[in-house]
């Protein structure tokens, strides 16, 4: 999980004064290797770096071909910076030098297999969002919140989002919720057409998902499963029953099965739904109040 990791250091590939440039092919391989392990890279060349680093938001490591004379470099706070001469290093060895500079601190990385947190979460198109808060009401995982400054919707806890689940984007009436790593538009961020906005199949009625018939059916099935469980004493049978019930939901909203399997009990869903609805209503009231005050003044 991303919360348990620290930001990786940024790598500065220094090809300025006192450093010989890399061979272009080697540069390509080194850049790809660093990026695919989760490191951002700045290339500094004659004429300047790509941006102003006045605030130096991240710790960094410098790589260059210094001909054996490694410069002594300190950051703005006077701390020594890791500088490595990669003149005689292979790409793998240069990457290893960067890895060493992390001193074993955990970082999220693309090449960590099952330990990787895939950055999957909703992104709001603020030009389209009307702050209706339907998504906030819909989400059971506290992904959404409200900005205390202006009572607008915001993505508060992106790491809470269920990977590969785009369900909340389908309840947005303005097609304002994107998942940049989704496979198709407009959910992936592609331009929104009028047809998208009006396409009923893009939207799933919240009441159908979380209230009304489906919730009643979940509760009913849950009770049946509990009853059967008590008779058969089989957890597997109860789980299978729950899965059967949720299949319909998965088909309706393209929600991954594992997400539905991980849903809490119907009672907990109901409690969370009520809490989310309360937050959404409070946010709408606050916005209306603020708007009213602005109009009066």
């Amino acid at each position: 999980m991303i919360a348990a990791t620290v930001p990786p250091p940024r790598v500065v590939l220094y090809e300025g004064a006192g450093s010989a440039p890399l061979d272009p092919g080697e540069r390509t391989r080194l850049l790809a290797a660093l990026l695919d392990r989760g490191y951002a890279v700045t290339r500094a060349v004659p004429g300047g770096a790509a941006r102003d680093d006045a605030s130096a938001a991240a710790a960094f490591v410098v790589l260059g071909r210094f001909g054996g004379t490694v410069p002594d470099v300190h950051d703005a706070a006077g701390r020594p910076v890791h500088v490595h001469d990669i003149g005689m290093s292979t790409v793998d060895e240069a990457v290893a030098l960067v890895e060493e500079s992390r001193a074993g601190r955990p970082m999220n990385r693309p090449d960590a297999g099952a330990a990787t947190w895939k950055p999957w979460f909703p992104v709001i198109d603020t030009a389209r969002c009307t702050n209706c808060m339907q998504c906030l009401s819909f989400c059971l995982f506290d992904v959404y919140g409200v900005s205390p400054a202006d009572h607008t919707l915001r993505v508060e806890n992106p790491a809470n989002c269920k990977v590969n689940c785009p369900a909340c984007s389908r309840v947005c009436p303005e097609v304002a919720i994107m998942f940049p790593k989704y496979h198709a538009g407009p959910i992936d961020g592609a331009p929104v057409s009028d047809a998208d906005v009006h396409r009923e199949k893009m939207k799933v009625d919240i009441s159908a998902l979380l209230g009304g018939d489906i919730l009643a059916k979940l509760r009913e099935r849950s009770a049946e499963a509990k009853s059967r469980f008590s008779k058969e004493r089989s957890a597997d049978a109860a789980l299978a029953e729950r899965r059967r019930c949720l299949t319909k939901l998965a088909d309706a909203a393209a929600i991954p099965r594992e997400v539905l399997d991980a849903l809490p009990t119907p009672e907990e869903i109901e409690r969370r739904t009520a809490e989310a609805a309360r937050k959404a209503a409070a946010a709408r009231d606050a916005r209306e109040h603020a708007t009213g005050r602005a109009v009066q003044s």
Partner: protein, 131 residues
Amino acid sequence: MSETAGSTPRVLYCRCAYAQVVPGDVKDAVLDGLARSSAAFEMVPDLCEMAARRDGQLADIARAVDPARPLHIVACWPRAVRGLFHLADARLPDAGVEILNMRAESAADLLARVGLDVESGSGPTTPQVPA
């Protein structure tokens, strides 16, 4: 450290390393084109991951936008890229930013739009190590 003004385009490249939604051949060819140019650039493994962490580097990049020297962000759909910066509390200005989409354009077109000379970089320079 202050930036040296010049005619060289400013480039931010996103590798989209945590997913396979950007065609691999396109992002590899763009990376190679940038690496063979003489330009300074920023490359990040994944803008989504950085936005989720609200990485301060995104705010640095947004603050450094200068309409006189446009920033080319080579990533994915512009709507998504702007949303990611916004999520990271790093609002990109409208002027001075061009977002190029590796999901929809060819590598050759993208590199042409960035306007880089694709050669090996060399020559003397002033040290530009981040402050």
